[in-house]
């Protein structure tokens, strides 16, 4: 038994499939969907409806998480178009990007005990992420297979940068 929610997340949220998503509009749609399907709305319903509401509410949450962040949204869009980002298995990256990453990691080591330098580094990584998010939007707008490969590369690079951003945060937490 399954409700017909085998739709993709864009369809679930009533949005056109594409990279440009308005964050405020997405949040409004999310709240409207949860208002209707959250298990709390089914506390007095039949068992079948209660199970379904749990399943659908979980899907709405996962959809919101996926579409909210540019990185996960990009990865999801690629998957919908049959392109896997293979972050686990394919480790080949643009050499220039790798050199840049190594330098950033070195700066991270140096900034380990200096909060101002850590903040500086966090801003740098953030700027790199933002440029890539912008390029990613353009690549998806392009739509041809070359643009999709470019998008795949960008998503993979963003994954690296996100990990770096998290490492900086962890340092702050360890303080």
């Amino acid at each position: 038994m399954q409700a017909n929610v085998e739709k993709n997340f864009f369809e679930l949220f009533g949005l056109p499939v594409g990279f440009d998503v308005d964050a405020a509009d997405l949040a409004t749609r999310y709240r409207d969907l949860q208002r209707r399907f959250h298990p709390d709305r089914y506390a007095n319903a039949t068992d079948a409806e209660r199970r379904l509401s749990l399943q659908i509410a979980a899907q709405i949450n996962q959809g919101f998480q996926t579409l909210k962040e540019p990185l996960s949204r990009g990865r999801y869009l690629l998957a919908l178009r049959g392109v896997s980002t293979d972050e686990e298995t394919d480790t080949s990256m643009d050499p220039e990007f790798l050199v840049e990453q190594m330098e950033l990691r070195e700066s991270l080591d140096e900034a380990r005990h200096s909060p101002p330098r850590r903040e500086q580094l966090a801003r740098e990584v953030d700027a790199l992420l933002r440029t890539r998010t912008e390029f990613l939007g353009r690549s998806f707008a392009g739509g041809d297979s070359e643009a999709l490969l470019r998008a795949r590369e960008l998503v993979r690079e963003m994954q690296f940068l996100k990990k770096l951003a998290r490492a900086i945060e962890d340092l702050e937490e360890a303080d």
Partner: protein
């Protein structure tokens, strides 16, 4: 029947009596029960006008246990049989309890399934049973003041409680015979009490320092939706720690050793707590210690000394506050209100510290002891369906990441902390041996990388994998967290589609068999007829199913079912109605199950229709 019925999904359209629902704050030091009456939520008092029930249970040989003030009064004289602060050991293993050892004066014995038992004059009791005793006492109070059986209960837990602590709390509710609708996080309950009161919008920080736990949560309020953005805390930090710090200081000043005298330690704790309360208003407090030789030490605890003793404890709340703002991706400037919850926030030093962390004066106008129970009562009232048109919705998060053990004792995270619940995540596993038919999986909760630094939740065994060559079997394991924050697991082999069975062994919980046995024991104890209780439970369940289905049929039966389909469902419905008033428990259960199977397709169609309807409010040109 009415001519036209318009219903919200899941809400009964049948005009029904106001059903009795309560919220319970099961606290470390004190517990409360609250209810919404004539539209106003308030805590319920006992026969003598007292709202707070001390969370203390005293076990006596050959007599019923006593709960509350009477038990508390005996704590210093009978420390081994008088159990206080049991919440600190809910869902904990015997090793955790030993670590807390110095602060708990009881004797422990290992239980059947990793859950420790406390040795008392009346026998061995698990923390779950002790908590159930407190809940039973509140249940009696509520039934007496509301004048009837309870239909639904919401019990609050610290947001930072892990799965085993939540499961233990739910088990205690079940053991006490309470119809538990939901476990609700304490800070979320507090936000409900404040938010609904003020019709507020914006970002709230809830700083909750109770007797034994600290929680900090960030919520966004938007048109009745309470969305928890992030939560952090420490499930073993609170006013109790301050009492111990003060008691240790007193004993040191009196030249008495801390260990070896449970009576003296309990008395010192009691006096330390009294001194702490005095110092919330005065600049100093008089204290005394009776030494084992009978001589008495008299002294004064001044504010400066007191602050020095409690400061290290208060400072431990700062790091979680910083982390929660980072996780919620906000800064202190984004926060519109700070709410203080928990008895420990009465202390001026705690208020000052909370104000400096968030750069604003906190709200304290609802009694910090009662605000959680009041919020829980509001939620219970809505869940039971007394306010069908209410737009309020709570979206909570899982406080700690959930993962599984992989090679080398490392953790692979499956669900990240602060993910909104309910949530489901699937993970694929491959067989690594030819003909492998079973697989063991260890689930842990926590944010560290090593299994040994996380809490062990459960071990699962997948069985019934069809034999295949190594690597060919692919098993998809789905981890689902429900709206109570509780985990369940299912598994399916992907190539053959065969469902593997999942056997769950909770690391620190009670097995179903143990709960059954405790239920039986408690019923024998209460001289209640087990069969009668079973029958009543099934009848209540049948009534719920019948009412829900009638309302669904009235709303969507014509639109979504063919005449034949509808006839079939109504046939099964009338079968259930006809067995409902009988005395055959199995027959009623069977009727419920049959009806459930017959209505699955209808439920799915209603959900689909709901999705279409939910989206129809948005602009049509947006559909791509």
């Amino acid at each position: 029947m009415a001519l036209l019925q318009i219903s919200e999904p899941g809400q009964s359209t049948a005009p029904h009596l106001h059903r009795l629902a309560v919220g319970i704050d099961l606290g470390t030091t004190n517990s409360l029960v609250a209810s919404v009456r004539s539209g106003i939520a308030d805590t319920l008092a006992d026969g003598e006008g007292r709202h707070l029930l001390p969370s203390v249970v005293r076990y006596l040989k050959g007599a019923d246990p006593v709960v509350g003030d009477v038990a508390l009064a005996a704590a210093a004289d009978d420390p081994l049989n008088t159990i206080a602060s049991v919440k600190r050991i809910m869902g904990r293993g015997i090793d955790d309890v030993k670590t807390l050892g110095g602060t708990l004066p009881y004797e422990f014995a290992p239980g059947e399934s990793g859950m420790p038992r406390i040795c008392t004059a009346a026998g061995l009791y698990s923390p779950v049973e002790v908590s159930a005793e407190i809940l039973r006492s509140l249940k009696r109070r509520a039934e007496a003041s509301l004048g009837g059986d309870l239909s639904g209960v919401v019990i609050t837990v610290p947001a930072y409680f892990d799965d085993s602590q939540r499961q233990a709390t739910k088990d205690a509710g079940r053991l006490a015979g309470l119809p538990v609708l939901r476990l609700l996080n304490e800070p979320t309950a507090a936000a409900v009490a404040y938010g609904l009161d003020r019709k507020a919008e914006g970002v709230f920080a809830i700083y909750d320092l109770g007797g034994g736990t600290f929680d900090i949560s960030i919520l966004r309020l938007n048109r009745g939706v309470f969305e928890v953005l992030a939560t952090a805390g420490d499930s073993a930090l609170g006013g109790d720690d301050m009492d111990h710090a003060i008691a240790d200081w007193m004993l040191r000043q009196a030249g008495v050793g801390v260990s070896g005298d449970p009576h003296g330690a309990r008395r010192a704790l009691r006096d330390a707590r009294a001194a702490k309360h005095v110092l919330s208003q005065s600049a100093q407090a008089a204290v005394c210690v009776t030494r084992p030789d009978g001589s008495v030490w008299h002294g004064t605890l001044a504010r400066a000394e007191f602050d020095a003793l409690v400061n290290p404890i208060i400072e431990r709340t700062v790091a979680p506050c910083r982390r929660v703002m980072r996780d919620a991706a906000i800064t202190a400037a984004d926060i519109s209100e700070v709410v203080l919850v928990g008895g420990s926030t009465r202390m001026p030093r705690v208020r000052e510290r909370a104000a400096t962390i968030f750069c604003r004066t906190p709200l304290t106008d609802i009694d910090p002891d009662r605000v959680v129970a009041i919020g829980a009562a509001i939620q219970a009232d809505i869940l039971i369906g007394n306010k069908p048109s209410d737009e309020m919705l709570l979206l909570d998060v899982i406080p700690l990441s959930l993962g599984i053990e992989i090679m080398g004792g490392m953790v692979e995270k499956i669900i990240a902390r602060n993910s909104t619940i309910p949530i489901a995540k699937a993970q694929d596993f491959t067989t690594f041996k030819d003909g492998q038919t079973a697989m063991a999986i260890h689930v842990v909760q926590g944010d560290r990388e090593l299994v040994s630094d996380c809490r062990s939740l459960a071990r699962f065994e997948l069985r019934g994998i069809p034999p295949m060559v190594a690597g060919a079997g692919r098993i998809r394991v789905t981890f689902q967290i429900d709206a109570d924050g509780l985990l369940s697991v299912s598994a399916q082999e992907q190539t053959s589609g065969a469902a593997s069975s999942v056997v769950v062994k909770p690391s620190y919980g009670l097995s179903d068999a143990e709960i059954e046995r405790m239920l039986r024991d408690s019923i024998v104890h209460a001289r209640e007829d087990n069969d009668a209780r079973n029958l009543r439970e099934q009848q209540v369940d049948a009534d719920r199913v019948v009412a829900a289905l009638e309302s669904a049929l009235a709303a969507d039966g014509d639109a979504l079912l063919s005449a034949a389909e509808r006839l079939e469902i109504e046939h099964k419905l009338s079968l259930l109605r006809s067995v409902r008033d009988g005395t055959d428990v199995a027959c009623i259960r069977d009727g419920i199950d049959t009806l459930d199977r017959a209505t699955r397709e209808f439920a799915a169609r209603r959900m689909d229709a709901g999705i279409r309807k939910a989206l129809s409010g948005h602009r049509l040109d947006e559909f791509g």
